[in-house]
Symmetry: D2
Amino acid sequence: MTHTLEALNRMGSADFAAAVGDTFELAPWVAEGAAARRPFATVTALHEAMMGMVRSAPRERQIEFLRGHPDLAGKAARAGSITDESRHEQASVGLDSLSEPEFARFHRLNDAYKAKFGIPFIVCVRRHTRDSILTQFERRLGNDAATEFAAALQEIFFITRLRMTAKVTGEGMPAVNGRLSTHVLDTHAGRPAAGVAIELYEFAGGKAHYIQSAITNADGRTDQPLIGGRPLPIGRYELRFDVGNHFRSRGIDSGDPPFLDIVPLRFSIAEPEGHYHVPLLCTPWSYSTYRGS
Amino acid sequence: MTHTLEALNRMGSADFAAAVGDTFELAPWVAEGAAARRPFATVTALHEAMMGMVRSAPRERQIEFLRGHPDLAGKAARAGSITDESRHEQASVGLDSLSEPEFARFHRLNDAYKAKFGIPFIVCVRRHTRDSILTQFERRLGNDAATEFAAALQEIFFITRLRMTAKVTGEGMPAVNGRLSTHVLDTHAGRPAAGVAIELYEFAGGKAHYIQSAITNADGRTDQPLIGGRPLPIGRYELRFDVGNHFRSRGIDSGDPPFLDIVPLRFSIAEPEGHYHVPLLCTPWSYSTYRGS
Amino acid sequence: MTHTLEALNRMGSADFAAAVGDTFELAPWVAEGAAARRPFATVTALHEAMMGMVRSAPRERQIEFLRGHPDLAGKAARAGSITDESRHEQASVGLDSLSEPEFARFHRLNDAYKAKFGIPFIVCVRRHTRDSILTQFERRLGNDAATEFAAALQEIFFITRLRMTAKVTGEGMPAVNGRLSTHVLDTHAGRPAAGVAIELYEFAGGKAHYIQSAITNADGRTDQPLIGGRPLPIGRYELRFDVGNHFRSRGIDSGDPPFLDIVPLRFSIAEPEGHYHVPLLCTPWSYSTYRGS
Amino acid sequence: MTHTLEALNRMGSADFAAAVGDTFELAPWVAEGAAARRPFATVTALHEAMMGMVRSAPRERQIEFLRGHPDLAGKAARAGSITDESRHEQASVGLDSLSEPEFARFHRLNDAYKAKFGIPFIVCVRRHTRDSILTQFERRLGNDAATEFAAALQEIFFITRLRMTAKVTGEGMPAVNGRLSTHVLDTHAGRPAAGVAIELYEFAGGKAHYIQSAITNADGRTDQPLIGGRPLPIGRYELRFDVGNHFRSRGIDSGDPPFLDIVPLRFSIAEPEGHYHVPLLCTPWSYSTYRGS
């Protein structure tokens, strides 16, 4: 259920805490503290105030709060004994359907991490591909405790900011969504290439996994962003454009098989809230791409 | 053993036939006929004269000649009862190591082809990848008899031209070799990209199969052509350039993971005797390629 | 003074003729005829109905109508004895300020044209640069009479369509405006190039004439189209981008003088109602452009 | 008259001094000193030894040596009372045919320079365009004395190295020549563009001055480098490619006038001994260039 910022600003403290309390996992004191600071001019300010409660809490309370988060792909998740919020987030990146070896790998990483830092590994899974989560996990395991504690709080910030935008509407929404778009320009004909079939793949474990397809419209673009309305998961991707069919349908002979048929553009996303425009400029004999805007 | 054209022009007819006779599979009459037309000014003219013998032979003799060729990936090849020339040619494209299903597919195609045309399927395997041979096989199975008979003679021309260049040296050698080359230009630095690791893959059955690796030299090129000194097998290829490492070694930050890491260029070769120059112009944020010269 | 289509549909015939009559030069019968066909669902339909009057008029009346148009850069224009509409149109392309040799050239062309066709040369000047008008003039002088008569009516169509859109507002406005835009992408930095100074030139008589300047905004675009809100004059243009200053301000050394300093992009416009997007993708060592969308 | 290094190594000291003495303007002691250090393994070593004489000479002798050089575009040059070497060098960049205002400007710069530094302004004119000489002149006038003294010796090094390569042949010639080349690739057709007319211009005083023309051969290159066999004069250039005619001759319609007609590539040369490869990749609707190798 969503609330308007205006309603949240006016409701009783208990109702307020009930409305936004579960944004911060098992930490009702966060919402209680923020209730006293109302009214908020923007949703961003509301979220900042709640994060301020966490940042200014005593160390013990912070640690208790971090410990309240479930293991990534952990036994609790398997057993169903974690919050709904956590369950949906972990499922979004496939952590609910790991193979036994993958589950074992997460298990080992979780154990090593908790042994070193005394808290579970926390990451905003919706900002990452599965490959990127594993990379982060192994990299952060090498941090010192102070760096890692700050990193965990930063992830809490990302997680709760996303939860907040799903729960509250109003002025000053935080920018949490990125956008991946493309554009196919036929520089042989000097116009957008319409009707070109595009496939998007994500790399995981060195292999390309199909995500989705699209067809370019009359302007050479896709009607919808390839990824949009959510953070772009950090990771490696490949766009594949069927330019062979496009030029064949224009009656152009570029050899048999044609010099260019399926054109792959391979690139990485590192900014989940950014705009990645990855166009293809193409003739039957040449192509180019760039990160555009 | 190779011979000079000069020596071939001067030797006795029997020696001449012994020297070049096996260029045309089990057809000593080709060399015998050509012997009478000596001397030849060029190796190309010698080959043309031998092809002329085939082209002007009576239909029955042509058919007998074509029937003398072994099945592609056939039982004779498996049993070792084909000529050395044929065996080496078939092995060069992996036809000597097919899986059982692949062997069965060739077997079915061979049967259908012989049932329709009364001759074995003949193709100059050294001008094709395995995928391309299968494509040709299925396509040519749809030809009418006259078209296919001409196609078979054209392939004989390609096969024997290659055998001739391996056996005879001298003036006017026919052009049988193609060349695949690349060049990596770092347009961020404005100079050739040295030390870039490159891998070449061939597509077969929809999958990329590793062929070889190279490293760019100070001029951004490879010391040797990626493929050279032989016909370029018709087929689909992918070059993969490790530009992520290149820019990392120059201290450039283009995100984590970097926007461009492994850049694949996918293209096809349709002219075995042609020059394919497939360069990469690259910054950390953009790249382009084209069929160059 | 402008009118709404709705008001035009409802007013008396005399008022209607007074309101839109001068759209067709000295030909009140056009508006009178169209008045009887009201109401019109779109402004385009109104214009089509008026053109229909011209097209279906007897030949003598058509010729009289065409003869009612002034010479381009003619004596009447100099003497001020032409309609305001014509005067403004001719001034827009500089025909009111020709040098004596240019005036003499137009005079000679006018005389030759009238001697051959018996009507003045009619062209929609707002769709052309001065160079393009001269090119058209000399080319059309070579037409046969039937072709040229059709060409003159087509130009009447363009002229009156523009006049109509200036006089009438409402549903279904004809598309008469084009757009010239650009975009500067710094593919060295992987982001739009902000603050780049751009100059637009038009070629006339082999020389570049300055038209206007702009500075790219944070998205690498100009706040306004380089040309917009009017037909794009057919002709040759050059955009000049000060990328030398851009890269210098980023602290990049590409030699002294820098390899790229002022980058000119030279192109032509042939479709006055089209969209010409002419972007610059640039590093200190490379650049590219294309007709985009 | 040229000499071989071998002959110079063996001849008497007086003959040696006579042979290479005038390499260093009016300073016979340079050759005399170098004579004693023979034999030299390379022409570069010979030149280095002569420069060594200058560098290790007492300050007074160095100054006297520098003072022995004529003013650039000075009265002595006009009156013909300078050495032949200096006269040819100054003529090569047009300093012998300045207009009166240009002559006056050089005169003022010469006076200011000599008043400040006590020596004439010395620059290796064959490594510069006229614009670049003026830029250097004004920039170096702002140097302090020590910096400028070093700059003058560096120019002596460039001047005498060029004179040496004109006078002596043998092992280890110093690299004094640069090369400007181009290549036109038609990425619409996927092959080199043959028969394209190219013009090379140099910018001087803000205007483009024609230097020379060339036509691309079957490989899309020019038979000779655009500039070669000499140092590339530092300065600003423009290459103009007539791609409009090229695509018209291929029957391609890209509008009237064609979207691309004359394509200008504007770039600067900063390394006289470097290789500048400035190719054009072109379709009727797009083009790109880069500093290649």
